[in-house]
Subunit: 223 residues, 2 copies
């Protein structure tokens, strides 16, 4: 791993269950880049992401934050693109222009159109400010997950670009985003039966050690 | 414009007020790339994005969709990255690795953490399924806009990379995303006084013809 710096030059401020942190852990592992894990607990102590020291790193008070050899980045999709540019070995984007757009389209669909609507702070607003009960909260989560997964299933099942993974037989940025999103769906007990193409891809990913090592249950702050 | 194909080789399926379509219009204009405008009305006829012909293009039933010389892409951030790779003239990303991460971080923050939570379909769920009244809907919109803009203001006002625009004195992907988001905030009558750095950047952008021509009020389907 010619590109890998000593672990102390790369820090990921992290929360084991954060879907966006999970994406970045997968990408780091796929590229063989070691990193130091600094836990930021999102619900303990009123949310450690709101502490002044963390806000100084990220005024948006969200995990993850990556510091790679002095480059500090606090948005997960920007991190993935940065890692791809800084460490081109083990590419997570194909080389062809159209293929790259296809992979990014899947990744961004998850990152923009699915994940944020079910993020912790949104759920807190629903149950706190709007006073929704657990059933209404779960209905919200399932609605947006189901809508996104139905779109992904239609898209992936019809795509000639799909292989064992979202694109061909090597994991890409799309798989880095898909696996955490489906982990989330399982956590919220969504029925995944209508999405066989999606679940087959996730199963293929979960057989890869880089994905396994990034799983929330394997992180130092896992509960 | 050596790169620009005839207008008939480039189509943007569009809605004048869509924030994500507005982003792509700005980028196309900044790169001097002409395109055909195909309107997709998001509220008329029960939402033209749900029509089978449009769903065949984008199973997620969202605008915009770009077809550039046969490359069809249906996620706006993937389009912006594609345009940057396909038409490197008039770059919308800086050349330095850390600077690129900074610009993407701002762009993705808006695209992932701000825009989706206030998107039309989410607002419809709030007033429809959850039965929220207009005041509660506006409070929701203002909450998420305010949170995102406060983070952007803190970040931009402190950044040595900021110039007349988000990064230096040439518009980037960050400005392509910021201007439509602030247009949205104005539309929902959010008080922008607490965000002077953000509004100064938007004012600078709005003096640029490429931004002016992309404005919702200037589109063929504007109401």
């Amino acid at each position: 791993m010619a590109h890998a710096a000593p672990a102390t030059d790369r820090v990921l401020h992290n929360y084991f269950r954060s879907s966006s942190a999970y994406r970045v852990r997968i990408a780091l592992n796929l590229k063989g880049l070691p990193y130091d894990y600094v836990p930021v607990h999102l619900t303990r102590n009123g949310g450690e992401q709101f502490a002044p020291a963390f806000r100084a790193r990220n005024p948006h008070a969200l995990v993850p934050v990556l510091n790679d050899q002095g480059h500090e980045i606090h948005q997960s999709m920007a991190m993935l693109e940065y890692l791809e540019e800084a460490y081109p070995e083990h590419p997570l984007l194909p080389s062809d222009l159209g293929d790259r757009a296809y992979v990014r389209q899947l990744a961004m669909l998850i990152a923009c159109e699915m994940h944020p609507i079910n993020n912790l702070r949104v759920l807190k607003y629903l149950t706190g400010t709007l006073g929704l009960d657990e059933a209404a909260k779960t209905a919200w989560i399932h609605h947006w997950l189901g809508l996104g997964l139905a779109g992904l299933e239609a898209e992936l099942s019809a795509s000639p670009r799909r292989g064992q993974f979202c694109f061909g037989d090597t994991p890409t940025l799309a798989d880095c985003c898909l696996v955490p999103q489906v982990f989330n769906a399982k956590r919220f007990a969504l029925d995944l039966t209508p999405y066989p193409t999606v679940t087959a891809i996730v199963d293929a990913c979960e057989a890869v050690p880089a994905f396994q090592a990034a799983h929330p249950s394997r992180q130092p702050d896992a509960e």
